[in-house]
Every structure is written in C-alpha cells, then in structure tokens.
C-alpha cells in the first residue's frame, strides 16, 4: 500500500537549509585575529581607536553606574557589560541624522548619539528633565514596554522615506522582545513599505531569567526575517568588527531604498537584568558566565589593536580616567537639578492645560510654593 501523502507541508527540511544560511558572521575571533578577511570593514586606525575608547568608556560607565546604584545615588539601571560590541559597534555605523528607538538597556547608544550623560543619570533617578530631548537629537527615551519601539521604528522609517531623508531608523530589543507581537508587526510593516529601518535583536540569552530556548522553536531569531520577507543576519555580538560590518551594510541597503534588515547579535549580559533585585545565579551557572567571558568584546578587540600597535595600557588608562572624571562631573550636574513637583508633572500633560488639570495645577502651585 502506498504511503499516505500528507496534505500538510512540514517545512523542517526546507527550514534546515534556510537555517544553514544564517551562519554567524564573525570577523574577529576570541584571540583577536581576523578570521574573515572579506568581511573586515577595514576601519581606519583612528576609527578603530575611537570604537575601542567608546567600549572601554562604556564598561567603566557600567561599573560606576552599578556602584552608584548600590550607594543609592542612581535609580533604575540595566547593566550593559558584555554587550558593548552589540551596542556600540552597531551605533558606530550610524550617522547623526539616524533615529534611535532604544530599549531600556540601550542607554550607551543614546549617550554616544549625543544624550548628555547627566540627563541619562536623571532618567535613571526618575527625574523628568532626563528625558527632555535637546533639539535635533534623534533619539527616544529608553522604552520600558518590551518591543513597543519596534513598531514605532517602522513609523519613523516610513516618515523618513516620505521626507526623502538619507537616514535610517534603528531600534533595539532583546531575545525576549522577539516574541512580542509588536516585533512581528514592526518588521512586517517596514518590510511592506520597504522603509529604511534596522531592527536589532541583542540576543543576550536571557529575558530576565527565561532562557532563549524557551522564546521560540526557531533555531535563530535572525531567520524570523524570512516570515516578513526581509533580509536577516546572525552576527557574533561580541565581535565589534562583525557587528559594525553588518550594521553598515544594513544601513547602506536602507539608504538605497532596499528596505529594512533584521540583525540578531549573539551576546551575553554579565550582570543582572537590572539592579532592582535580579539574581542571575537562580537561572545560570558560573560555567556559562566564564564561557562567555572568554568571548569578551573588549578583550579580543584590545588584543587585535595591540597587535597592530594601536592600543596600549597607557591609552586605556587615559580613557578610564576621562570616563571617571566625566561621570563625576555629570553626577554633580544631575545633583543640581531642581526638585520635582506635582506642578511639573501636571504642566507636561497637554500643550494647552485642560479644565480638570488647570484646577489641580492651581491647588498644587499654591501648596508647593509654600
């Protein structure tokens, strides 16, 4: 008897052949050696040094932020160590006119795009002046709702397209964010309109405590691009040169009118989810930690630059000292922000104060002027 032919298409085999195409792009291995000459973005010496400086600076900022948080001198903080290549090398491929729609861990990209450091500290402390964006700075404040920024990025990108700007909208989420409906709607809308958007998923392996394997049965997050009919790429998110190269290519495609790209960066967060009580030992082992520490973006980039004679301990110390000084100054500036009032909150609700708010505004103005 002939075997019954299934009416249902099982894509598993086809999928395997697609999944193989999402091979991880790597340029610089853990030893700091170029392993993919063709993909090497061939950055100038100055650019290489600048990118290294930013990564070192940001690692210091992360350490200082954690310690300030422990002293009660910062508020909400989501640690960034381990994600420097994913965050800063992708940002390094951008221009001022590009618009960033960040998740809450993406404070470093905002700072390097021009968000004043003291404002980032004010945001962390829960002061409204932190999020007051300077004119012409193309960023949104860090998004708290996972994935909401993805669909907004499709809108910013469509707006740029309509304005005929030579710019892109870039947005970041994590592996957990890739399970949200807004993730699909975002990549699908941008794909449908062929808008200049870059969607980055920093796959740092855990959504708070939930491991990546539980988010989806798809082998990679990058391959979710297939469903939206857009290109996707999986990249070593601990490799600054590879992250830079794929983001640069995605930007070029977008500017040429070829539409959006989905980039999955494989990375790791060394610290807890946030400083508000998350304990990573509940969901991962120190073995996993040390495995990822071997891949550290700063270590491999330092090795690479030292071999080229572009980096030294002295240079690194210079950056560290500068970072510490600037952080100190920014904290001081944040300290001098005026105390917040209910009046402040009521005043920023609407352009024109409506009747109900007006009445309350008068009450609080009187109360708070005492």
């Amino acid at each position: 008897m002939a075997e019954k032919k299934s009416l249902i298409f099982d894509p598993v085999e086809t999928l395997h052949s697609i999944e193989e195409k999402f091979e991880m792009v790597q340029v610089l291995n853990e030893e700091g050696e170029i392993v993919n000459e063709e993909a090497d973005p061939k950055l100038s010496d100055e650019d290489l040094q600048e990118l290294m400086s930013r990564m070192v600076y940001t690692r210091i900022l992360d350490q200082r932020s954690i310690s300030l948080n422990r002293q009660g001198r910062l508020g909400f903080y989501a640690p960034t160590a381990g994600q420097e290549a994913s965050q800063l090398a992708s940002h390094f491929a951008l221009k001022k006119e590009d618009f960033i729609l960040p998740g809450y861990r993406d404070v470093p990209q905002l700072i390097w795009h021009g968000w004043p450091l003291h404002q980032a500290f004010l945001f962390s402390r829960g002061h409204f002046m932190g999020n007051q964006m300077p004119e012409g700075l193309n960023i949104l404040p860090p998004q708290i709702i996972i994935g909401a920024q993805y669909i907004q990025a499709a809108g910013v990108a469509l707006g740029m397209q309509k304005r005929k700007k030579e710019a892109v909208a870039i947005t970041y989420t994590g592996d957990g964010g890739s399970s949200q409906g807004d993730f699909y709607e975002g990549i699908n809308f941008a794909g449908s309109f062929r808008s200049p958007a870059i969607f980055i998923v920093q796959n740092n392996q855990y959504a708070i405590s939930t491991p990546r394997e539980l988010q989806t049965s798809a082998k990679t997050i990058a391959q979710k691009a297939v469903a939206a009919g857009i290109p996707g790429v999986l990249v070593d998110g601990m490799d600054p040169l590879a992250v830079y190269a794929v983001t640069r290519d995605a930007r070029e495609r977008a500017i040429k009118g070829e539409g959006p790209t989905l980039i999955e960066t494989l990375c790791y967060r060394y610290g807890p989810h946030t400083m508000a009580g998350d304990d990573p030992t509940r969901y991962r082992t120190s073995d996993i930690d040390s495995e990822w520490e071997k891949k550290d973006p700063l270590v491999r980039f330092r090795k690479y630059l030292e071999a080229k004679g572009l980096w030294s301990e002295e240079k690194e110390n210079e950056v560290i000292e500068r970072a510490k000084d600037e952080i100190k100054a920014a904290i001081k500036k944040a300290d001098s922000a005026p105390k917040q009032t209910v009046t402040n909150m009521l005043e920023i609700m609407y352009e024109e104060v409506p009747f109900n708010v007006k009445e309350q505004l008068e009450i609080y103005k009187a109360k708070e002027s005492k």
Partner: protein, 325 residues
C-alpha cells in the same frame, strides 16, 4: 450650503485637512482604494495620492505604532481603527505610548495623532464592533476623547482634533453615520475641543449626554414637553476633558439633572459627570442626579441589542423620577 450625512461630513473634514496641511496623513485598513469599510475616506486616495492616503497591513498595534513614528518625523497622522472594538489590540500604542509621549519626554516631544474609529450599537454588527469602550480612553491622562452627534459637529470637531498637538481619540457612532442630514459648510471651520453644546434649552431638568444618546434624549425632551416639562439637553461632544462650566451653569439653572450614556453603567462617563455635579452644585439640586445607561453585561448578541440599548422611553421614565422627586 451642502446637506451632508455624518459620514460625508467626516470625509469632508479629512479632505479639508489633507488640503490645508501637507503633513496630514490618512491610513489604516482598507482606507485607500476601498475608501474605508464605511466609505469615510472615499475618493481621498485618488485625490491626494498613495503617499498621503494609504492602506496598511492588518495589525492595529502596528497602525498605532506607525502613527507615533510618523509623528516623530513631523507628520500629523490620522489613522483609522476599523472598529473601536479592535482597540484592545492597540491599547499600548494609544494609552501606553501616544498618551505619554509629551509627558515622558518632559514636554520635549508630542504625538499629534487623531485616531478615528466607528463604534456604537443598533446596527446588528458581530461581536466587538459596537461596544462603547470610550471610558478606557477617558481614564487615560494625556488623551482627549471626542464623540460627535451631528454632521456639523463631526466636521468641526474632526478638524480641531487633527490640528490639536495632543493625541485625540475621535469616536464615530455607527448609527449616526447615515441617519440624518444637516447643512454643513463646505469651507473649513473648527469647533473647540472641551466645549459642550446645548442642543435644546430648558428650565426644569438638565440631561447631560453624548453620541447617539443625544438624539434619544432630544426625543425624550420633546415627549416631556407635551407633559409640560421644559428639558435642557447638553451634548458633551468632548468627553475628555469635560466641559464642567456648561454642565454646572445648566444645573444651577434647572436644579435637576440626569446623565445618559449608551455604555454600561459601570465605570462610565455618567458616573464622572454625577460626581462633578456633586462636587460643585449640590446646593442647587432639588433631586438626586440619576443615570440612564446600559446594563452591566458585555455588549449583547445582536438580537438582544434593541432591548439592551437605552432609549427615549428609558430616559422619559428616569426623567420623571427626577422631575417629581
């Protein structure tokens, strides 16, 4: 002046603003070539091109997020949510994002978006098409919520909504789309948001209402007139923020008030209006302020619609209680 239905007045308002401001964009599901499922955007894509009037993929959250992003590029988006029952899909984009944009950016950014959406019972729709969900929106600081009851008001209020620099939810009652015609000026005009309209003057009782219930209330007022009662009918037009001044002035004059809404009684607009009257005019009252509202079930299966929806009979009955207290 042209005689227009409410749907024609809405199309006319959209056309007016598409002409006046090149930043105005109209989009949503089936709003382009198809002209919208109720023809609210009829002919607009042809007139203004696909760049300004366009279809989107079918995803409400996507439509809301798209509007936020476009607004960040200086556009004035007017998205359509095909039926307001679908708003649950886009609650984060509207209540969680647009409503908070000005606030969370410390006043440095805004979301001048007007979300248009049909709602309301009485036309035998399937589930999730007719529900009165406006109080989900009015309880969200940062939004304005508008519900017109006539073609003239619809045009003027929609133009004001589009020009407003804060997000506005503009709710269009399905039953009113084609239920009557009215003279509507062809030129552009605005009706200020947050201003109620006295649709009928009276001395004995104030009925505060909005949307389709304006017409039921007017019908009830006429009937009560035959029995010698003079009833004032206030059409709120904007339900967030409320026009407290107009309500209180009327209650102080009549000394008796009631509030009529199509939505279920629980957590409704009427409750808020009653509380405002208590706060501000209790000494003017000759009787308790009563409410006419739908019962607290989910919006009914369509065959039960007529018995479930409040009507002029219910209003007359409650009005008499207030009048004779």
């Amino acid at each position: 002046m042209a005689q227009m239905t409410m749907i024609q007045a809405i199309t006319d308002a959209l056309r007016t603003e598409l002409q006046n401001d090149e930043n105005v964009l109209v989009f949503g599901e089936d709003v382009g070539n198809n002209g919208g499922v109720f023809r609210a955007t009829e002919g607009l894509q042809k007139e203004f091109g696909e760049d300004r009037v366009f279809d989107t993929p079918l995803a409400e959250s996507g439509i809301g997020g798209l509007a936020i992003g476009l607004a960040l590029q200086g556009f004035r988006p007017v998205p359509e949510i095909q039926f307001f029952g679908f708003v649950y899909e886009v609650m984060d984009s509207i209540n969680g994002q647009m409503a908070r944009m000005r606030f969370r950016s410390g006043g440095s950014l805004n979301s001048p978006v007007t979300i248009r959406s049909p709602f309301g019972g009485g036309v035998h729709t399937p589930e999730m098409h007719a529900d009165s969900l406006e109080s989900l929106m009015t309880s969200q600081p940062g939004l304005k919520v508008v519900v017109p009851s006539t073609p003239y008001d619809a045009k003027g209020l929609l133009i004001s909504s589009i020009r407003d620099n804060d997000p506005v939810v503009f709710l269009e009652h399905l039953k009113l789309y084609r239920s009557g015609r009215q003279e509507v000026p062809e030129e552009s005009y605005t009706i200020p948001l947050g201003k109620a309209d006295v649709k009928r003057e009276g001395k004995d009782l104030t009925i505060v209402t909005y949307g389709a219930m304006v017409h039921e209330s007017l019908k009830a007022a006429e009937e009560l007139e035959t029995e010698g009662y003079s009833v004032e009918v206030i059409d709120l037009r904007t339900i967030q923020p409320l026009d407290i001044e107009t309500i209180i002035a009327s209650v102080e004059k009549t000394g008796r008030a009631m509030v009529v809404q199509e939505a279920q009684k629980q957590g409704g607009i009427a409750a808020g209006v009653v509380a405002e009257i208590m706060d501000r005019a209790i000494l003017s009252l000759e009787a308790p302020v009563l409410r006419v509202a739908a019962p607290d079930s989910i919006f009914p299966f369509s065959q039960a619609e007529q018995v479930w929806l409040p009507n002029s009979k219910d209003i007359v009955e409650t009005a008499k209680k207030v009048l004779t207290f």
